[in-house]
């Protein structure tokens, strides 16, 4: 070995699952040189514009350094230059595969600041959207992960199901990917009539599709050979690097914000947190596949217990209320308009009638309080909101100085922390393992760079 640089000191090297192959070339007395291979930013399997400067000797990775920032669009700074509502459409671009989550943390942070009450129906719709979004995100991950392993067909299958869910999103939000649907204290619009049934239809179909996927991949000897025992992490490493999400749960840690710190209405639904103990690529794969099924379970419960039920019924109810309200208004009018020749209704009776008038329950509404979105000014203060996104903990820290523009917005994306652990997992592994490990972490670059 002539030009080999000393290997970096890493705790992972000493652990099983990592073969220390540094001494091999010395042993055989061959003069070989390391080669620096540049993977990305324009590379088929970096899922965006990540650059991995990889030093390899033969096919063995000796060093690796992720270079990020190619997709930096100053998303955080943008928030300081525009009103709270104007910033919202740009949030979709922070993490375009599961942007409901970004919207959710943003609006919940504002709701916490302004102390807005949110109707239950809104929370339920938000949860359905988020859980479906988790499925679409995991589906895309499933497709690209197997594409990284070399199988092309699962990619198309996953996209087929993803498109079915996107159709649902399009029905409710008007957009397939860039939703901009959640609002401070509510959602943009109620679900269209029959949407709940559409969702039910789609998610009834999905488990069979997942069975098919697992039939393709789970027991495939090539997939097993490439995934089992590759990219093993330990709990301590995960803690050190701040890794969250399925990668953490694949290490045996049942850390899920939905369970440990139930936000929204997650304490009202029953679900399990899928975990695995092995901490390798295969475990991460299994955890994500199980999570999709859990999401379906959650969505089923939400659909069954939706406050107000389907919006068609709700509209009917609203119409009845409107009729009653009309009658009251007519009566009130008669009180004031009634002149000498007509006996005026008793004003007190009308007031009593108005008091008893049925009103849409708060939980059935799609906006809590009327908020003027354009000149919305939350009181000065700070708020932090956090959810369990498909990639791990996603947080939004928001500081308001009482003006219509945010003083500071800080995103905590899971992808960034998950990416930092990649080099330590890679060193000593084979070059093709890079794709399996990198794919299994499910990193999305816009969330890293923001």
């Amino acid at each position: 070995m002539t030009t080999a640089s000393p290997a970096p000191e890493l705790s992972l090297r000493d652990k099983p699952g990592f073969s220390d192959l540094q001494g091999v070339t010395v042993e055989h007395g061959l003069n070989t040189q390391d080669m620096v291979v540049n993977i990305g930013p324009q590379h088929p399997s970096t899922h965006g514009v990540l650059r991995l400067v990889t030093t390899i000797n033969g096919e063995i990775v000796k060093d690796m350094e992720p270079v990020i920032g190619y997709l930096h669009r100053s998303k955080e700074k943008m928030a300081e230059g525009r009103s709270y509502f104007q910033y919202q459409p740009t949030i979709d671009r922070v993490e375009y595969l599961s942007s409901f989550y970004d919207h959710y943390v943003y609006v919940t942070a504002i709701e916490a600041l302004a102390d807005l009450k949110v109707p239950k129906r809104v929370e339920y719709i938000r949860m359905i959207c988020m859980e479906l979004n988790r499925i679409t995100s995991h589906l895309l991950w499933f497709g690209t992960f197997l594409l990284d392993l070399g199988a092309t067909s699962p990619f198309f299958y996953a996209f087929r199901e993803r498109e079915a869910i996107f159709k649902l999103f399009e029905d409710i939000t008007g957009a397939r990917m860039m939703y901009n649907y959640f609002r401070f204290g509510g959602v943009n619009a109620d679900a269209p009539p029959g949407w709940l049934d559409d969702v039910r239809k789609v998610i009834n179909e999905l488990p069979f599709r997942f069975d098919e996927y697992e039939a393709i991949a789970n027991k495939n000897p090539i997939v097993m050979d490439r995934c089992i025992g590759v990219g093993v992490t330990s709990y301590q490493d995960l803690l050190d690097y701040g890794v969250t999400g399925p990668s953490m749960r694949a290490c045996g840690v049942a850390q899920d914000m939905r369970k440990t710190n139930p936000y929204s209405c997650y304490n009202e639904v029953e679900f399990d947190v899928p975990t695995a103990t092995e901490g390798d690529v295969y475990a991460r794969y299994k955890v994500r596949m199980a999570e999709m099924r859990e999401s379906i379970r959650i969505v089923h419960q939400l659909l069954d217990n939706m406050p107000g039920g389907d919006s068609a019924e709700l509209r009917k109810l609203e119409k009845e209320h409107a009729k009653v309200a009309e009658e009251i208004a007519a009566a009130k009018k008669r009180v004031t308009v009634a002149k000498k020749n007509e006996e005026a209704p008793n004003a007190a009776d009308v007031a009593k009638m108005a008091e008893k008038a049925p009103e849409l329950p708060f939980d059935y509404r799609t906006t809590g309080q009327k908020v003027n979105l354009m000149v919305f000014k939350p009181p000065a203060g700070e708020a932090f909101s956090m959810v369990e996104s498909p990639r791990g903990m996603l947080g939004c820290y928001l500081v308001s100085d009482g003006t219509p523009k945010a003083y500071r917005v800080k995103w905590r994306g899971a992808s960034f922390s998950n990416l930092t652990i990649l080099p330590s997992m890679m060193i000593g592994n084979l070059y093709p393992d890079l794709m399996a490990i990198f794919g299994s972490l499910d990193i999305i670059l816009p969330e890293v760079d923001r």
């Binding site: 192959l21 091999v24 070339t25 061959l30 003069n31 070989t32 040189q33 080669m35 620096v36 540049n38 993977i39 990305g40 930013p41 324009q42 590379h43 650059r51 000797n57 033969g58 096919e59 063995i60 084979l430």
Partner: protein, 128 residues
């Protein structure tokens, strides 16, 4: 009609025509490349004539002493390739050799098989 009694014409099904085919095989790609050189559109730009490096300016050289991890396999390969070359005449004249040929070849292959097992046990078949 066709000459029914004719045997296979050796020159036309044997090495001479194979030789012509080989020359044709070598000539064809160069012919194709020449045609392409003539008809292709050239639109040179500076960045087009750089080596692909995943979207970054090229750095380093790929002409290095690369660590081929499989040179032990390569040694074994030579061994086995020679073995198969030996085995083909044996296979053709198997009927004439009879039981003796069978036993002798078994011994030969056995030794090679033992060689593989030895290499395997010694860890030569580990990718390192």
């Amino acid at each position: 009609m066709l000459p029914m009694a004719a045997q296979t014409h050796f020159h036309l099904t044997g090495y001479p025509v194979l030789f012509v085919l080989l020359i044709g095989g070598i000539a064809l790609p160069f012919l194709l490349m020449t045609i392409a050189q003539i008809v292709q559109f050239k639109n040179p730009t500076a960045t087009k004539y750089t080596t692909y490096e995943s979207g970054m300016p090229t750095f380093g050289d790929a002409h290095i002493q690369f660590d081929v991890k499989f040179y032990l396999y390569a040694l074994l390969f030579i061994l086995f390739d020679i073995e198969t070359a030996f085995l083909f005449p044996w296979a053709v004249s198997y009927e004439d050799l009879g039981l003796r040929g069978l036993v002798i070849m078994y011994l030969f292959v056995d030794i090679l098989l033992l060689g593989v097992i030895y290499a395997w046990r010694k860890g030569a078949l580990r990718w390192q």
